[in-house]
């Protein structure tokens, strides 16, 4: 891709001279009265982040008015539509890997030579028809690198964690309790008929 820094996108407005051959037909609406829209798609500031699809300029399409016309960009990023009637038009850029905002282009009928462009997504006016992506698009989830934390956080990790807690912390807690009090508490429990865990296990043996 040619990356000459002097290239600045600009809007050309040309009254096409296509009415030379057959003046009768040129009077028909739509022919001979058109304007040209020219612009540039610029990806320079966007470097794709390593993975996914590496986009090529050759795969970018520029679409006028939702499919009325389709054109492709040249190696330097320029594109143009010819013989476009005056009015308000919509230009969309179809590209894998980037999100482009559609562009509203007004061609004034009363004031030939006046053309305005604005991004429809954020209504930012464009001085020149240079279309840059709003952001790049990652189509895939990024796989988290393996970490102990994610393992611990998973339901099974939690179960193991709880188990470990029961195994090592509970006996310690029991140890901290005064044996006399413990026995009292156990007896109390037995009276109330609430089986303790240790009893349950012991009862089986």
């Amino acid at each position: 891709m040619e990356r000459s820094s002097a290239l600045i996108g600009s809007i050309f407005l040309l009254i096409s001279i296509s009415c030379l051959i057959n003046p009768i037909l040129a009077a028909a609406p739509g022919t001979g009265e058109g304007y040209s829209i020219a612009g540039r798609v610029k990806l320079d500031n966007f470097v794709i982040q390593g993975f996914g699809h590496s986009p090529k300029l050759s795969e970018i399409k520029v679409i006028l008015n939702g499919g009325q016309r389709t054109t492709f960009v040249r190696p330097d990023g320029y594109f143009s539509f010819h013989d476009v009637p005056a009015g308000t038009h919509l230009i969309e850029v179809s590209s894998i890997g980037y999100l482009f905002s559609p562009v509203r282009v007004d061609i004034s009928a009363r004031n030939p030579g006046k053309i305005q462009a604005a991004l429809t997504e954020n209504s930012r006016a464009l001085n020149e028809l240079v279309l840059e992506p709003m952001k790049d698009e990652q189509y895939y989830e990024i796989r988290e690198p393996f970490s102990m934390l994610s393992l611990v956080k998973s339901p099974m990790g939690l179960m193991i964690g709880f188990m470990v807690l029961v195994m090592f912390v509970f006996p310690k807690m029991m140890d901290g309790v005064d044996p006399e009090e413990m026995r009292q508490a156990q007896e109390q429990m037995r009276e109330h008929g609430i089986p303790s865990i240790s009893n349950l296990v012991a009862g089986r043996s």
């Binding site: 096409s16 296509s18 009415c19 051959i21 057959n22 037909l25 040129a26 001979g32 993975f51 996914g52 699809h53 090529k56 050759s58 679409i63 006028l64 008015n65 939702g66 499919g67 009325q68 016309r69 389709t70 492709f72 190696p75 594109f79 010819h82 013989d83 476009v84 009015g87 308000t88 038009h89 919509l90 969309e92 179809s94 590209s95 894998i96 999100l99 905002s101 559609p102 509203r104 429809t120 997504e121 698009e137 990652q138 189509y139 895939y140 989830e141 393992l151 998973s154 099974m156 990790g157 179960m159 193991i160 188990m163 470990v164 029961v166 195994m167 240790s198 296990v201 012991a202 043996s205």
Partner: protein, 980 residues
């Protein structure tokens, strides 16, 4: 209650992350993507000595592509706009592909190795007509070469380097149509020959470097000239007259034109009918194709013609291929039964004849493109690209088909889903479907060879392919989850394919035209296909079958036919040539005793014919006839009419023919509204619950009716594309109409909006996409309809205890009060197609599938299109899953189901349920096909592929160990305590 709990659970689940997202390494696990190019209409070979051999083709789908000549793979492909049909392609400077498109007004150059567009020139042609491109070989102004584009009476010379118009010559003669341009070798003069009003022959000499007109001559001709001409040498050409039975030999020596008329029957005996000239390049030989033969004719002396070769059967003839100064080769292809004879004729003499067997389902040869290569012994070898009737593309070389491409699949017009056969006990009986017994034995032999390490590499590949086929995903049997199904598609050429959802392979394919063609049905064309029999309970032993409906002729009056095929094998079961026309096929929600679905075929006299014809189907229908209605949208008139059926029809007295009675009509005023879109619910959609519980324990009842029709109309000025109407003269009116009573349930006007409108109706809501001219952005609106008549029945407790009128059917006979809720949002992209996910029981939340302008399929959760969204939802609403209102619908890149793939020229999206409630199949088609499975609320009813069984196992082991350890420890402790 159960449902509510489940729904709440689902919501919680789906809130936690995007409903659709895959990791990059999961690509291809559940999805497949197939790329096609369409029916080839031009081909240019690029076979230089070194480097990759390729062929550049342009197709009827407006695609241009470069194919690897060895494998048939697509090296690069571009799909031009839908109004940008390619007229001609050419190669220039050995590195550029030139395409002339849009009736000769746009010339583009593409870099041959990578397909990057190099330049594009708008030729500003005021009167687009048949144009042609001529790449000049030997004009070297600098290192450039020129390409000439002739259109009517003007010639433009375009530089191949940068696409600038070097010169332009307007011959300004009324009625002039240039027919041929050529340049004698080593000359700077271009000769342009044309006809003026098909009665005069004109010759122009033009300087190739400047475009200056050097000389011109005209000659009135007494015969009417037809459009075809063929140049045979540098100073003569051959034309046919308008009766297509006389040859005209035109000579232009020294600026004068002479012509001779020669009846074709003098040269070709037994000639009759209309002849056709095949374009050739000089060398005094030309080819005439007549209905019964192909004649090779040589010009001898001044005005004599000699027949030098004749192929007795009419075949398809390729363009001429220049082998050397003296030698011209043509390929003539005949078709007989299931083989084709491929003949190469050099200077009219037979040089090579090959007979090649071709599968039955490919039909006849439609086009052939010839190319040669030089063998090591300096002789010529030939290869040919053949386009078949089913639009597939074959490369033929040395009497064999080297590769074939199923490019018919690029033009799918309709699709249905069918089940695969049930796996029987014992497993072996599956063979019936999969292979014949012999193949099965062969497969086992292969496997045996593999285990005994006796297999050759070819055998290994075969074994691998077999493994691939028999893996869980690609089996030819039904699975428990309903992931394996057959997608049956109909293509424009009238071929039916069954595709396996596992890997997209073709299970069977049939070209219907030759099967249907008969005296009573001269030119069959298939319109649509439907499920004819979907056996479940009663007729499980019967195979499911598919109904194909079509017409026997071109006009809407021509007779229809029904064609029923077995969906397992594609075998023809039944053909019926109908004695009436076909306007529409209405599938009914009824089936006869053998599970054949009832269909009504409406003819163009508005009579309804019932199929299948059987006494029990008639009985079933007559019982339900009073509840059957039909509506018809007449786009041109702006009228929608509703009909009921009555016994006895206006034509004939068949018991299966029913008349219709008009019940209602909705007439849209033609001066202010034009119908642009209609949409209705899928008839087989399942809705799980009619009630929707609000945060404040209120119950809203969905108005779920199968008879809702969404109609969108726009103002007449706004029917054109975007950019043609001003905001104040455009409006869009959306209607919801009950198709039984004709009652307009809801009507809303969007001022300053216009089409194109894409809409989808599901459950009690409709979502539609249109263009807002005021904001100059696309918008999507959702309308939800609720039944107000049950609104007082608000007690959730009653609902829980079952004391509600929820089971009361919604009927169009009553006129319930309805309420609608609506909200609009901006949407970034243009939309090509829209659909909604469908699941087996309708419990899973819905997602909307949007085919964007970039040929991707985006899923959008229905929760984003919820009219209850507010800017600041309360805590309760947040808990319920209401998303704060934003003016734009979000586009999350991870929710493209097509991920980094594109479905070129996307036309349709189809969603069909799997047996697993959480999962739905998505199939989208355009020039490409893309299939995947998605789970709109994640796979809550099965473990994902991501699930780590190892971790589960470890956990179980650890738990057991822990139990044992604690048990041992406690026992030890007990013992200690007892000793104390």
């Amino acid at each position: 209650m159960e449902a509510r709990c489940l729904l709440g659970f689902l919501l919680l689940l789906s809130l936690s992350s995007f409903a659709f997202a895959i990791y990059e390494d999961q690509v291809g696990l559940a999805d497949w993507h197939k790329r096609y190019i369409g029916k080839v209409k031009h081909a240019v070979f690029h076979t230089q000595k070194t480097g990759r051999r390729r062929v550049v083709v342009s197709t009827e789908e407006n695609a241009i592509a470069s194919l690897d000549l060895r494998t048939g793979d697509i090296l690069w492909r571009h799909v031009l706009g839908k109004n940008d049909a390619v007229d001609q392609i050419g190669l220039s400077l050995g590195k550029f592909v030139l395409t002339l498109s849009s009736q000769g007004s746009v010339l583009r150059a593409w870099n041959l190795p990578d397909g990057q567009m190099v330049w594009e020139t708008d030729l500003q042609i005021s009167n687009p007509s048949n144009s042609f491109l001529h790449v000049l070989g030997n004009v070297k102004s600098g290192r450039d070469s020129l390409s000439l584009v002739c259109n009517g009476g003007s010639i433009r010379a375009v530089s191949s380097i940068d696409g600038l118009v070097v010169w332009k010559k307007d011959l300004s003669v009324d009625g002039l149509k240039l027919k041929h341009v050529f340049q004698p070798p080593e000359s700077d003069t271009i000769y342009a020959i044309g006809f003026i009003d098909s009665s005069q022959i004109a010759l122009y000499h033009i300087n190739a470097k400047t475009g200056e007109l050097l000389k011109h001559a005209t000659q009135a001709s007494s015969v009417d000239l037809s459009s075809e001409i063929s140049a045979i040498s540098s100073d003569s050409l051959v034309a046919l007259d308008s009766s297509r039975s006389n040859l005209l030999l035109i000579k232009f020596m020294a600026g004068t034109i002479t012509y001779h008329k020669l009846p074709l029957s003098d040269i070709v005996q037994d000639f009759s009918g209309l002849a056709e000239l095949i374009p050739t390049k000089s060398n005094d030989i030309f080819v005439v194709k007549t209905p019964s033969s192909v004649a090779f004719i040589k010009v001898k002396g001044d005005n004599e013609l000699e027949l030098i070769g004749k192929a007795d059967e009419a075949g398809i003839v390729s363009d001429s291929l220049t082998l050397s100064e003296e030698e011209q080769a043509f390929a003539v292809v005949h078709h007989s039964n299931n083989a084709i004879s491929f003949q190469v004729r050099i200077n009219g003499r037979e040089a090579l004849t090959d007979g090649i067997k071709i599968e039955d389902h490919r039909g006849h040869v439609k086009r052939v493109f010839l190319n040669n290569y030089v063998r090591t012994d300096k002789s010529h070898g030939f290869r040919a690209l053949i386009v078949m009737e089913d639009e597939s593309l074959l490369l033929m070389q040395q009497g064999e088909v080297v590769w074939s491409r199923e490019d018919g699949l690029a033009s799918i017009s309709d699709a249905v889903v069918a089940e695969l056969p049930v796996e029987r006990e014992g497993g072996v009986s599956v063979v019936e479907v999969e292979h014949t017994l012999l193949e099965w034995l062969k497969g086992h032999m292969l496997k045996l060879k593999g285990t005994l390490m006796l297999s050759t590499p070819d055998d290994m590949a075969a074994i691998q392919a077999m493994h691939l086929k028999s893996t869980e995903r690609n089996k030819m049997t039904r699975d428990h989850n309903g992931f394996r199904k057959l997608i049956i598609v109909l293509t424009r050429s009238g071929k039916v394919y069954a595709l396996h959802t596992g890997d997209g392979r073709i299970v069977w394919a049939h070209l219907l035209t030759p099967l249907l063609q008969s005296e009573s049905c001269p030119s069959p064309s298939v319109l649509t296909l439907r499920n004819w029999r979907v056996p479940h309970r009663k007729a499980l032993q019967e195979n499911p079958s598919i109904l194909l409906v079509g017409r026997c002729g071109a006009g809407p009056e021509s007779h229809g036919f029904l064609f029923i095929v077995d969906s397992y094998s594609g075998k023809e079961l039944e053909t019926q040539i109908l004695d009436h026309s076909i306007a529409e096929v209405v599938p009914l929600p009824l089936a006869d005793s053998s599970e054949q679905k009832l269909h009504l075929v409406i003819d163009n006299k508005l009579n309804a014919h019932l199929y299948p014809r059987g006494s029990d189907s008639l009985e079933v229908f007559i019982r339900e006839m009073a509840n059957m209605y039909y509506y018809k949208v007449e786009n041109a008139k702006g009228v929608i009419k509703g009909y009921a059926f009555k016994k006895g029809c206006s034509t004939g007295s068949s018991a299966y023919c029913f008349g219709t009675r008009e019940l209602w009509s909705v007439v849209f005023p033609s001066d202010s509204e034009r119908i642009v879109a209609t949409a209705r619910r899928k008839i087989n959609e399942v809705v799980h619950t009619q009630a929707k519980i609000m945060t404040n324990q209120d119950v809203m009842y969905k108005y779920i009716s199968k008879n809702i029709l969404f109609v969108a109309t726009v103002s007449p000025k706004a029917t054109g594309g975007i950019g043609s109407a001003a905001p104040d003269e455009a409006w869009l009116v959306a209607y919801l109409i009950d198709t039984v009573t004709g009652r307009i349930l809801h009507r809303v006007i969007h001022q300053g909006a216009q089409g194109p409108v894409h809409a989808v109706v599901s459950e009690n809501w409709v979502v539609y996409h249109y263009f807002n001219l005021r904001a100059h952005r696309y918008e999507m609106t959702v309308i939800e309809i609720y039944d107000q008549s049950r609104a007082d029945n608000k007690d959730v407790m009653k609902l829980v205890l079952g004391k509600h009128n929820l089971t009361a059917p919604i009927t169009s006979y009553s006129r319930p009060e309805i309420a609608t809720k609506s909200q609009s949002y901006f949407f970034t992209h243009s939309v090509k197609a829209i659909a909604v996910t469908t699941t087996a029981r309708g419990i899973t939340s819905k997602q909307i599938l949007i085919g964007t302008i970039g040929d991707q399929v985006l899923v959008l959760d229905k929760r984003y299109l919820d009219p209850r969204r507010t800017a600041n939802p309360s805590q309760e609403e947040k808990e319920e899953g209401i998303i704060p209102l934003t003016d734009t619908l979000p586009i999350i890149p991870q929710s493209y189901v097509t991920h980094s793939r594109q479905v070129g020229d996307l036309r349709g999206i189809m969603s069909f349920p799997a047996n697993l409630e959480s999962t739905t199949h998505v199939f989208s088609y355009g020039i490409d096909l893309f299939y995947t499975r998605i789970a709109p609320s994640r796979t809550y009813d099965s473990l994902t592929d991501e699930f780590s069984y190892v971790l589960l196992l470890i956990t179980v082991v650890v738990l057991i160990v822990a139990i044992l350890v604690t048990w041992a420890m406690s026992q030890k402790k007990d013992l200690q305590e007892k000793w104390r």
